[in-house]
Assembly symmetry: D3
Homo-oligomer: 125 residues x 6
């Protein structure tokens, strides 16, 4: 199996409104270093899993609308606990939509929120 | 599939008493940067794989008894080659015990012993 | 010259209310991976620049009040552009106060805001 | 499952002669930081997946012939687009040959071409 | 003293035509992860050393002409040993020119050529 | 000013026999990722601060005698608290001796003992 991974990042504010999150119930923020891994059993006729420029642009395109934002103010995240796991899933779904069939395989999105914590979601697209 | 990863570290002494290990037969030591990855197909009602604070505490709790120790002096490691692979397995088993059913899924423990070498063990818990 | 460096991190929300900051004028957030470097020409009688446990506790103690917070709501930051440079300076000043003479030398505070951007402040304490 | 990972690197020149690669059609170059992960369900009698010294030597042995070279001048790469994915596959095949049965399991080769891009190939050996 | 650091990268081919360089006399290549550190004793009225967007654009602007190129073919590098130290110096000089007085202070350029080797040049601009 | 940095590592056991060190009074161990930075105002006739191969060999040569060892058993470290700061100083002095005049400038030795702690020593050689 082949994998291509590209990296970008976002800087967002949010709060996790449930007492299980302790101090993270406060409005605070995070840099997420976002890795997108595209996995496929085969290479295309140009010996790539996916054009790396395209992969980077797709990732950027999906991140722009939430970058430099307060996620608490998004209608689509209303009543949603925007944990790192959830945002990884959200980015995964948005990339799947943006690719519109230009890639078939496994996609893994990993968000590094600090030098000691990460979360990811992976699934077929 | 969702994954949450947390990082901690230990600093131990040990020796690998078999000639295949060359100079590592000597009493020497290692910093192990320990990554614990918890993997699950679903999120709980708070949109997490496992509470990240709980994950960090479980990892710390398991590492404390071996941190700043000489593994050669542990009765449980008597006649055991405490390779990086083995310690990854040991940490995995100890976390599984410590969780006592509070997490079900896949657990991967990775030990970084330097900037050029790592070992890991993963399995269901 | 000797240096000891310890690392911790914070996750904060803030906005930079000046048009030169473009999208960062929005309320957004950041993880800052914070490095504190203590520099001295000599070691003490225990062959250290500063007790590394003390250094870590001082850093943690200074970071706790701003961790998981929205800096825009702090009276002390009112009308202040809380750039990464400024927060590095703020952490520097707070550590200097917290040490209350227990360390004399150069102190450098570096904040990593992503995998591609950092800011720091250094000066005598 | 157990995994052992070792790291080395090469510095090569090449060009990707197809218009889909844009500026990478030019003769340019890359440092590839190469990770070789050996995965096995069991440990051997010395509690290792593979002797880490042997793993490092095998990786080095396979990298030497292409290190400090222009891949465009290799007969074996004639008419081949030497993408990062392809070189990961090539290193995988060469290590499989070099091991000649001394390891059975999964082998994953990952090439880091910068701080923001990676490619890998994995398969049974 | 305040410092701001931004990171980018280039992928170039070159050869070092002197026998002291051993195998690096061959045409080969390198990824250089390029860090530009801007250092100043004071912050401007917006609490920054230099606008981080401007810093990133200046670095990118200087790197584009040599990115994806074979340095051996540049007239300006004719009869020059394009070592990592030299390229760090070259990037430093080009950024100094590109800034045209918009920043006064110390500038340090560091090129990471692998996970185990770096070179840098710093000086007033 | 120019700098060249090379990286290697050692894995040692030791104990810090003074109560200020808490649990580190036990025999334990550490991986030290060792960075050697050679700094000079000028380049030589081959456009380098120091031949990078020579720098790597000098560093390796100095590290071999203490690698895979228990520092508590060294006569030269008898009654010495082998803190990270001290070992950085020791490596610095040994490299200075080993170079025997083949390099004049500043030398900085940094030891990373984990992902959250480092110590260094620098001085003229």
């Amino acid at each position: 199996m082949y994998t291509v991974k590209v990296r970008d990042h976002i800087m967002i504010a949010h709060s996790l409104k449930n007492e299980v999150f302790g101090p993270a119930q406060n409005l605070h923020g995070s840099t997420y270093v976002v890795d997108a891994e595209f996995q496929s059993d085969i290479l295309d006729e140009h010996n790539v899993v996916i054009d790396i420029g395209l992969a980077s642009r797709l990732l950027k395109q999906v991140l722009v609308p939430i970058n430099y934002q307060n996620l608490d103010e998004f209608e689509i995240f209303k009543d949603t606990l925007t944990t790192t796991e959830f945002i990884a899933y959200f980015v995964h779904q948005e990339i799947a939509k943006a690719m519109a069939g230009s890639f078939t395989g496994n996609l893994k999105i990993t968000l590094g929120e600090s030098h000691v914590a990460w979360a990811s979601y992976e699934g077929r697209v």
